[in-house]
Structure formats: C-alpha cells, structure tokens
Symmetry: C2
Subunit: 333 residues, 2 copies
C-alpha cells in the first residue's frame, strides 16, 4: 500500500510517499481504509522531534482517522466491513508498543478506540474531531464534571480543542465565556455557542472577571493554551474553582491556587494509546459525540482549505505558521 | 473577661493575660464558654507574622475551640445553653471581618461553624479535631472523592492533618499507606489504622511505589507536608491519580502531572472563616465527624503534655521546636 512516511524527527523532517506493507488484521482490531486525517499539534511536535513518542523510523504519522472498515479482527463484534468510522488511534509509540498513523491507504486500529462516524459529517469533517473532542470531553465532563448552569470559561475558543470545549459545555447547558484574539474569531466563537466573548488583546483578566462574574471568578475554566495562560486561569478562577488544562509550560506558582483552594486537572488524551489502558472509554466518548453531532449540537470547525495526503508537507507548513483558523484536514484522494 | 492576647505579630510576639470586654451575643451566633483550644500551624504563623490574616492588635488568637454554650443568638435553632460543642471558628481576619479566637474565657462563634462535640471525648480531645479534621475531610472526601478500596497514600501520617487523613480514609474502607520518619511513628500510624508504613528516611519513592503498588503508583495521595514533598507526590501517583495537598512551597514543575494526567486539589480550610461563604459545610462535617468519633472510628492523637492558657507561650515554643508527636492542646483551667 501507499503511505506518507517520514525518515527523521527534526525541524527539517518531510513526508514522502512510499510503498509499505499493508498491515495484517489482528484480534481486537479493525483495518480501516483511510479517507481522511487531521493535523493536531502533537502530530507536528512528533514530526519535529519536540516530543519523543513517535513510531520507529521510517514512520507513518497522524493520530486522527476516518474511513471505511476493510476487515475486522477476531473478537470484534461491533463493526463490520463497510462501516464508516472515526477515531484517534495511531501515530505514536508508547509502553503498549507502536501504533502506525493515518497517513496511509490503510490503518490498523484497536477497535476500542473507534466508533461509527457521525452520519451528518463527511469523512474530512469526521477526521477533525476525535483528538480534540476526546480532550475536551475528558477535561470538562470527566474531570471538571461540569453541570448545567455552570459558568465555564474556555480559553482559545476557536482553537482545535477550544471550539469543542465551547460546544460540549453549551450542550450540557452551561453558560460559556471564551477568550479570542480578534473580532472575527469572536464571531466564530459566538456561532459555536459561546454566550460571552472576551478579546484578550483588549481586556485584562481582572476586568473580564468583574464584567462577567461580578468579581467572583469562574467556577470552571478550560485552559487550552497553557504556559502563562495557566497563571491567568488561576487568576480568573472563583474560590474552589476547577481548572482543566492541556498545559504548555512546566513551572508554575501554585500559591494563587492555594489561596482559592482550586483544583487543577491536567488532561493528556494520548495516555490510553501509549499505555494500552483505558481505551474503551475513548470509543464510548466518540459514540456519545456522534449522537451530539447528528443532533446538531456539535460541529467541527475546519480550515477553508482541505489538503491531500500528497500535500502533507504543505499542511504542516501552514500549521507551523500558526496563522489560520479551523482544524487542518487532509483527505485521501 | 480574661483573654490571652498578643500585641504584635513577630517572632518575638508573646501572649499576655489581659482583661477585655466579654463579647456580646449576635444573631446567628453562639457564645461559647471556652474549655480548650489546640495549636495549629496557622495559629503560629499568624503569631509570628508569617501569614497576614491575624485579627487587629491586641489580638485573641487560636482557631479551634471546645466549650459550653453560654448564650444563643437570634435565629439559632440547633443549640441551647449548656450544650457541649466544638468547632474551628475564630482567630482570623478576612474579607468577612474579624473573628476573635479561643484563648479567652468566652468566644463568639458563627453557629454554622459549630457542632455538638463527640460525647466520648473530653474538651481537650475535642479541641484537637476541628481544623485538622475539616482539612482532611475536604481533601479526601470532598475533593479526592475517595471510595472504598481506593489505595490512599497519606504523607505525614502522625501529623495533625495526617493522622486524621489515615483515619478518615480507613473509615471509608480505603487501604491506607502512610509515610513517617521513624519506627515509633510507624507504630503510632499503624494503631491509627494505616495498613502500610513507609519510613521515608529509609525508602525512596520509586521503591515504595514498586513494593506497594507493583510500580503502578497510588490512585489517591494526600500530601500534608508540601514543598518538595508535593513533587514526590506527583512521582508516586498513578496515571489519572488525584493528589490533594495543603501545600507549602509555591513553585512546582507540573510536567510530571501532565505526563500522568493527574488532578491536584489544593485545600485551604480557613476560606469560609475568611470570606463568610460555605460555613455551613464545616458544621456539617463536624456533625458527621462526631458520629465517627463516637463509633470509635476516629480519635485525636494528643501530645502527652496538655498546657493551660497561661502556658500559651510554652505551647508555641514546643510547636516551634518541631520535635513532638500529637496535637498540642491548651485547656482553660
């Protein structure tokens, strides 16, 4: 089969089309004829060597996948050939071994990580969702345990994880505020369901805490930015607030957390892929997510240009420029 | 009435007996004829000026109290004169105003913060419990949400908060491991209900994680030490583990938290006293605690010498030496 592989992990690493062995079906697994993938920050960090969890070289990358089931392994009861599925299922190597990624004709995937794709989405749209939706789900629903009427602040509302955070919180009946960096992004965030828009280039934490919470702070904050922004999240939190973060920088002053008795939940959705444990929960999330999508409550935000697999280098160059809105999707054409 | 007041907040500050006005009863409050108090680290930090939340000078300090209700304010339905009560109710000044402490003949207390004392304890024993028990309760039951069969690591098992942590976790059916600094303290911790003893002067984190969890780590850790120990708590935690801490140092590297998707809960039990919000929960905890105490499931660990209020300076000197076991109790004789 064809695959788009990389031969090194570095800033200079480039994808090249290659002929590789088609994966053989295994018990508990499905073989997916790949239709699309999306680009997540971790894929780019693996490519450039910033995080050391890439598959052995030459490597097939990209975690998110959508496609059609081509074969079903022993013991898999909930899929059959022809099913249209989506998931976040490869492009990594951890203690559980190597999982090849989606930039290929076929991808072998643990059936626990996969679900029927939302019927209302095409393959490109479906491939934009798994990693960011599972991350937002684990942060807001599993860890911060949002309930209806919670006031939730989502940092980075038009980002990959952030735009799912807005929609999942709104779908649970929460009131959602979100930070963005421009008027245009604010309009996008409002269309996604955010009730209150904060342009963080124009308004200080103290000011929007006063404007939106009367100075009390936000009971729930989802920080999809990390770094200094995590400190701003502590500043914006209410007493006993819950902050969920995908992190960024390493070292933080926790004294603001202590003075308000905050809880901090760090989310790392790739753990089940790396360790092999807790994978069934990802499949469960994707099944519930598909229901929300088909009910019109969640939709992915896509960059206006979709790439082919042959354009993987171009897609990563766009990502590296960091000047775009919407998930970057690559379709197998 | 008599009170034991301080005239400054500094390392040189000393208690002196003084004649002060007896507090007047207020709506929602009770007037307690004080029988005992205990010494918590925060009382000493206020005395020495290390934390700026002391009452206006000259000040009556000490948060924990036990005694007999002398008068009941308007709107208080659950107490009557003669009731024997305990609570953590004063010795601080926050946004809700000043609350005088327990080192006096009488103490005015918000009735929401008070409960009937355990019948099986004398006043000195009862005064040892409120602050440390509420802290451990908020950490383990409210925040880490322990359930039966959770494996809980309590750092500092013979400390004030730690010895309550062991007993509350054990009373919920958890298996409890605890760190201590000597064989003698290990025996005390075992009598308190700890199932596994770790002498941290002899065993490294990696080794006891291997010995007690097969290398998987602890799902729940209660760090009553803080500082570097919080880093050791992150090291000892299992994937998706919950760490609760009363903290100490300010700055921490959160990358170990991220790689294991940990949750961190910082506990600051004094918040309802400082802010006026959430006080009723403290009374609720103390009522449940009294039931556990009278059922023989929780008991305070007291230092073998009990002090009089006239010996308040001696009691604080013992605390400052940091070479004792058991809570330091002061009785009004």
């Amino acid at each position: 089969m064809k695959a788009w592989v990389v031969d090194e992990y570095s800033e200079q690493a480039r994808f090249r089309k290659a002929e590789v062995d088609k994966p053989e079906i295994r018990p508990g697994h499905v073989l997916i004829e790949v239709r699309a993938t999306s680009l997540n920050p971790i894929d780019h960090k693996i490519l450039t060597g910033a995080v050391p969890v890439g598959p052995s070289l030459p490597a097939i990358l990209h975690m998110d996948v959508s496609g059609v089931i081509a074969a079903v392994g022993h013991g898999v009861g909930n899929f059959k050939p022809g099913d249209e599925v989506y998931g976040c299922a490869g492009g990594l190597k951890g203690s559980a071994g190597q999982l090849d990624g989606a930039l290929a004709d076929f991808m072998l995937a643990d059936a626990a990580l996969i679900a029927q794709k939302p019927k209302s989405l095409d393959f490109g749209e479906a491939a934009a969702l798994p990693l960011v939706a599972i991350t937002a789900w684990e942060a807001l629903i599993d860890q911060a345990a949002i309930t209806a009427d919670d006031l939730v602040l989502v940092h980075g509302g038009t980002g990959g994880v952030g735009h799912l955070g807005i929609q999942l919180a709104a779908s649970r009946g929460c009131k959602v505020a979100t930070t963005v960096s421009s008027k245009e992004k604010g309009e996008i965030a409002r269309r996604l369901g955010a009730h209150e828009i904060i342009d963080y280039t124009l308004e200080q934490v103290e000011d929007y805490v006063q404007r939106l919470t009367g100075g009390r702070g936000f009971p729930v904050i989802f920080d999809t930015i990390g770094g200094d922004n995590l400190d701003r999240s502590f500043e914006a939190a209410a007493i006993k607030g819950r902050v969920a973060s995908t992190i960024g920088r390493n070292t933080h002053d926790l004294s603001p957390m202590h003075s308000k008795a905050l809880s901090l939940h760090l989310v790392f959705m790739a753990l089940p892929l790396l360790t092999g444990e807790g994978r069934a929960h990802h499949g469960d999330i994707l099944r519930e997510l598909a229901t929300l999508v088909d009910a019109g409550k969640v939709k992915p935000l896509l960059h206006n240009k979709r790439f082919s697999f042959d354009q993987a280098n171009e897609a990563h160059a766009l990502f590296a420029k960091d000047d775009y809105v919407g998930k970057i999707v690559l379709e197998h054409r």
